[in-house]
Symmetry: D2
Subunit: 356 residues, 4 copies
C-alpha cells in the first residue's frame, strides 16, 4: 500500500492531482488543541504554487476544509480529516501521457502497477500536489511541537551547483527564499532562471534543523529517528537521498574527527560538536537534529525527450507542456519541515509514554 505513516500519530493521505479533492486523515492527535488556522494557512501558502517567479503558474487557493476532528477550531480527539478541492485542473494538458510516459516521472511505473485504469492526469496520486495534505498534517504537528519548545526549520541548502555554505541560523525562518546567505540565495534564483530560460529544470537540497528536542526520542534498529524521518522524507516526490549530521561526508572522516566529545554546559550534558546530527543509536541526544534531503531536478521539462509509445511499444518523442516548476526546491522547504515535524511528533508521543 502506500499512504499511511506513523505509530502514535497516524496519517493517511489521499487524492490524485486531478481528482475531486485531495486530503489527509490524522489519528492520534491530542484532544483539546486549538489549531492556529491562520498560522496553518500561512504555512500552506509557502508550499502553494503560483506565487512567484520560480514556481508553476497553476494557482490553487489550497484552503483546507476540515470535515471532522475539530470543533470550533479545537481538536476533539476523533480522527481529523481535512480536504482541499481540486479546482484549477486542466486535464487536457495531459492527454498524451495516457500512452507516452514522461522520463523521470512515475507515469511508466504507475502504468505497470495499476494498468490502464490508473489516473495519469497530472501524475495522479504521484503528483507533488499530494504534499499539500502532508503540509496540513505537518503544519499541525509543527504547532504541537512548538508548544513543547521544539522548533523545526529548514533552508535551501543548494540549487544546482550553488550551495548556501553558511552555518544554519534561525534567521531563515521568515524568508521567502530561505537561505542563510542572501547572496547564495540570489545566485540560486539565477540558477533557476537560467534553467527555466533553457526549457530545463534543476535540482537542489534542503537542510532541516530541529531545536529543543529532548534526549531520548526514537528507538534502536528499525525505529531509530533516522529510519523514521527517512521513511517520511522519501515520501516527498523527487527526494533521492537523505542524510543526518555529516551524512555522506562522514564516510571520508576519521573517528577522531567525527566523534562528538561529551561535555557539560550549564549542568546539562551536551556534545562539543554535532557531527552526528543529534542522533546516536537512533535516539536523540538533546543536540539539534540535522537532516538533509536531496531533490532531483523536476522531470517535467519543455524540451523534447525520448520516450516509448505504450500502445505500440515503439520509441517516440515527447514535449511536456502544462505548467511546471523549473525547480521544486523552494516549495519543498515547508514540505521537508512538515515531514520532519510529523516524524518527530510521532516519536515525541512515544517518548512521552515512557516518561512518568
Amino acid at each position: 500500500m502506500s499512504s499511511t505513516y506513523g505509530q502514535n500519530l497516524r496519517l493517511t493521505i489521499f487524492g490524485q492531482s486531478h481528482s475531486e479533492a485531495i486530503g489527509v486523515t490524522v489519528e492520534g492527535l491530542p484532544s483539546g488543541f486549538p489549531i492556529d488556522m491562520a498560522a496553518l494557512q500561512a504555512f500552506l501558502l509557502r508550499r502553494a504554487p503560483g506565487r512567484n517567479d520560480w514556481s508553476t503558474p497553476r494557482k490553487e487557493a489550497d484552503a483546507p476544509e476540515f470535515l471532522c476532528g475539530v470543533k470550533d477550531g479545537v481538536t476533539c480527539g476523533a480522527p481529523l480529516t481535512a480536504i482541499i478541492r481540486n479546482t484549477n485542473t486542466r486535464s487536457g494538458d495531459y492527454s498524451q501521457l495516457a500512452y507516452c510516459p514522461r522520463p523521470g516521472h512515475a507515469d511508466y511505473t504507475a502504468y505497470v502497477k495499476y494498468g490502464a485504469s490508473r489516473d495519469y492526469a497530472g501524475g495522479g496520486h504521484f503528483s507533488g500536489r499530494l504534499t499539500a495534505p502532508l503540509c496540513i498534517a505537518g503544519g499541525i504537528c509543527l504547532q504541537l511541537l512548538q508548544r513543547e519548545g521544539i522548533k523545526v526549520m529548514a533552508r535551501i541548502r543548494s540549487i544546482g551547483e550553488v550551495c548556501d555554505e553558511s552555518e544554519f541560523t534561525e534567521s531563515v525562518a521568515g524568508k521567502l527564499f530561505p537561505t542563510v546567505s542572501d547572496a547564495a540565495g540570489k545566485a540560486m534564483q539565477q540558477t533557476i532562471a537560467a534553467a527555466r530560460a533553457e526549457c530545463d529544470s534543476v535540482g537542489g537540497s534542503v537542510e532541516c534543523v530541529v531545536t529543543g528536542v529532548p534526549a531520548g526520542l526514537g528507538d534502536p534498529m528499525f525505529d531509530g529517528m533516522e529510519n523514521r524521518i527517512a521513511a517520511v522524507l522519501f515520501g516527498i516526490p523527487a527526494v533521492k537521498g537523505v542524510e543526518f549530521g555529516e551524512g555522506f561526508a562522514a564516510a571520508a572522516l576519521r573517528g577522531s574527527e567525527n566523534n562528538d566529545p561529551f561535555t557539560v554546559e550549564n549542568g546539562r550534558i551536551v556534545t562539543a560538536t554535532n557531527h552526528c546530527g543529534g542522533i546516536l543509536g537512533g535516539i536523540t541526544n538533546g543536540m539539534p537534529l540535522v537532516v538533509r534531503a536531496a531533490f532531483k531536478p523536476t522531470p517535467s521539462i519543455a524540451r523534447e525527450q525520448q520516450t516509448v509509445d505504450l500502445r505500440t511499444n515503439t520509441p517516440t518523442t515527447l514535449s511536456v507542456h502544462g505548467r511546471h516548476d523549473p525547480c521544486i526546491v523552494p516549495r519543498a522547504v515547508p514540505c521537508v519541515e512538515a515531514a520532519v515535524a510529523i516524524a518527530v511528533y510521532d516519536a515525541w508521543l512515544e517518548y512521552k509514554k515512557h516518561k512518568e
Copy 2:
C-alpha cells in the same frame, strides 16, 4: 519500539552484545523452501569478525541454531527463529562504560532512554553484533530472491578519501575485499591500516545493486522502495546517509541530464540511462536498483577522548580498550546486502499478491 521490520515478511531481531544469545524471528517465509545452509554460513562468514587484518579480533563462530520454522532444512510455514550464542564475550572490558559514555556511541542515549538498568556491555542491543541476525534473515531472503532471478550485490564504494570510481560489475561478488578496481581496494586497505596505526578509525560507503528486479515493486508515498530500503538500512549501526541512483549528486543536475529516456530493447521497455537507480515514484522500473549507504567511522577508538562521568556530571576522559574494527565498512558489505534483500523480498511478496 525497535526491532521489527516488514509487512509481508516480518522479522524481529533480539539480543544484546553480551546476552546469552542474539537471534531473529522471521514470519511470512514461504513454506517448502530448502535453505542452503552452507551458502548461508558462507554469507554469515563475510560479516563475522576476526577473519582478517581490518576487523576486530573478537572471534565468534556465528553458527546459527535454528529453533523452529524449519524441518530437515526446509521451511515449514511457521515462524523461523535462529539464534547465535554469545560465547567469546569479555564484559570486563566494558566496566568503565557504565558511567562514561563513549563519544559517537549509543551509550549516552541508551542511558537516557533505559536508565541504570540498560545493558551497556558491548553496546547492548545497539551493538553492531546485532547485524548477525540481520544477516541470517537477509541471507535467507537472498536465496529466495535468487530463485526468482533477482541478485543483490554490494561493493565498497569508498573508504576515507579513497573511492572505487569504476562502474559496478558483478565481478565484486566473490571478492574478499569487494571493490571493482583492485587498485582502489588496495589503497582502501592502506587507508584502514593507517587509521589503525594511529589508534583511529575511518568511515566509508557501500553501494548495492539489485539486478533482475521486475518493474512494479513498491508503492507510492510512504511505502516506496526508497522508504522501505532506507527504513532497514538505517537500522545498521553507523549508517548516516542513504541515497538512490544519482542521489545527492542529482541535486546538482539539470532535468535534461538526470531524466532517463525510455527506449525499447528486445521488445522490453528500458531506460537508456539509470540516474534514478531503478525507482520512479517509489516503484521499480525494471532497471537495476542502485542504493548507497554512508558509514561513519567506528566511534570506538583507542585514543583518549573527552566524555562526562554520569555519576558526577563532570567532564572526564576515556580511552576505549576492547577489540574494535578500525573500519567497519568491509564487514558491512554483507549487512547492506542483507538489509536490501529483506526490503526487496518483502516488496516482492506484495508485488506477487497483485499479480494474477
Copy 3:
C-alpha cells in the same frame, strides 16, 4: 488510536455524528475494478435510518461522494475516499449530554478520554452513524468478493427472546426484514414495537454466513479468521459478543459431537457437519464460514434514567430525547455483512499472495 483496520486492504473511518461529514479511505483496492454504484447505494440503503417502523426517524440520504480513487466509476489504484455530508443534524437535542452522560453510551468514557473538547453531539465519533462509511468500504468488498464467487449474507438471528431457529438459507438475501422464518420475523417486529411502546429498546443477534470461501484463508494465532473478523465486528457499536460455528454452545458439547468428520464430495474434501463454522486453527477449511454477533439493546431510551452531573459530580436523572431506534439489529445486518466482507477480503488478498 482507533479507526484503521486491515493489513492488505486498509480502511480508515473518520467523522462524528454531527461533523461536516463522515467518510472512509480505503487503500489496497485492486486497480481497474468497476464499482456497481447502484448496487452500493442499494446496500447502503439497507442501513440507512428513517425507512420504516423500527428505525429512527432521522433521515439521511447517505449518498456517498467519491473524492478520489475512482475514475469514471472504476478504481484507479490510488486510495479511495468517499464521504457523506451530515445534513439532517439537530444538535440542540444533545445539549444536556455535555454534562449528563447517557447510561450505556460512550458519553462518559469519551469525556474521560478526550475531556471537555470532545464532540458529544450525537455520540460524536462513537455514533452508530459511523457504520455508514463502514458499509461503503464493506459494500465494495462485497462486490470484489462476489467476483471471486464468495457471498456474504446475514440474517437477524434473534430479537429479545424471539429466535429465528431455522437453518440459514440464502433466501434471506432479498428480504426487508431478513429472517429465514417469516413467522419469527413477524414476532420480532412485534417485540420491537412492544419495546418502543414502552419507551424502551431491545437487543438481538445477527448471524452471518460466507459461502464460496476457499480453504486456506487466515493465519495461525493472532491473525486467524476469528481474530480478524472479531476485530472488525467489535468495531460496530453495541456488539458485545462474537462467536463462530457452535460458538458458546460448543462449550457444552463433547468432542465426539463437536468434531466435524472429514469426507469427500465430488472429489473435494469437505466436512460432514460444520460445527467449527468453517474455521480450523484460524484458517478456513472450505466450508461456509459462520459467525454471530450479539447486539445489546440501544442504550438511548426515552425513560428517565439515573446518571451523574459531571459539573457537580452529583447524581441526577436524564430522559434521552432525540430520535433513536428501539432496536438497532435490523439496520445492523448490512453492517455485519460489511464488517465480515472487509475481514474476508483482506484475508483473501493475503491468501492470493501465497498462491502461484
Copy 4:
C-alpha cells in the same frame, strides 16, 4: 502472517510442538522492572501439563530460558526473548497425521496452507503448547499490571453442562481448580472424568475479571478493548466465542434492564450495575472488566473418527493416540489471564501516553 500482537507492547510467538524450542520475544517492556521469576514459574505451572487427573500425561518442565532483555533478572529495555526447549516429544505418535487430518484440528487447514512441508507433529505451530510462551509474556504483564494496582483473575465458568453460577469473587485466585463454588467444581471434574472414561472430551468456558483498571483505556472503533482482547483470546487454540459483560445474554434484554445507571460512590463516578463489563464505546469506564471465552471440546479423542486419506483423497478412519487432555479448560485458565493481561497492559501503555 500470524504470531505477532500488540501496538505499544509487541510480542512474537514462535515454535512448533516438536521443534527444538518454542518461545516468545516481547518488545516495549519498560526498562528496570525486576521480574519475579518464582511467581512467573508458578504461573506457568498452572498451565503446564501432567500435573493432575484432568490433563495430558505429557510432562514438560516448561522452565523458560531468558536469552536476552533481562540482566540479573531486571528488564533492560531491549527486546526480551525467552525460550522453552521441547524435550519430552514423541513424534512417532503422529506419523499417521502426515496424511490423515484429525477432525476438529488444524491438520487439514495447515496442509492446505503450508503443503507437504508443514510440521504436522503434535499440531506444529497450531499446538496448544504455544500457549506456554503466551503465558511467559502474559505472566510478565500480570506482574507489571499488579504494580499499577490492576488484577487479572479468571475462573472456570462452565464445563459441559455444569456451570459455576456464583458471582465472581477473588477467592478463585489461589485454587487448583478455580471455581467460586467448590460444589460446581467437583461436578465439573466428574464431567471431565466421565468424558475421559468414554474416550471423549468436553468443552467449557472461562470468565476473566480485571479489577483496578482506570477509566479511559482503549480506543473507539477497531481499537476498542473488546477488539483488542478478542484479537488475543482467539489466538488461544479452541476458543470459538468471546463476550463482554452480559455478552450474548444482552441480546435478549431491554435497554432499561441492560443500561448501567451512573452514580457517585466515595466521590467517584461508578455504575450501579455492570452489564457492560466495564467497557463503553470500546473504552474502560473504571468498573471491573468482564470477559468470557468459550472453548470447544478438545478435538483429540481416542474414539475412531471419520477422516480422509490425503494421499488418495478417499475416506478412511482414524483413532488419535498420543496423550491428550479430556478437557483443556482448567489449563486454559492461566492462558486467558495471560491473554487478557497482555491486551490490557498494551492498552495501559497507550493510556499512560496520553496522561500528563
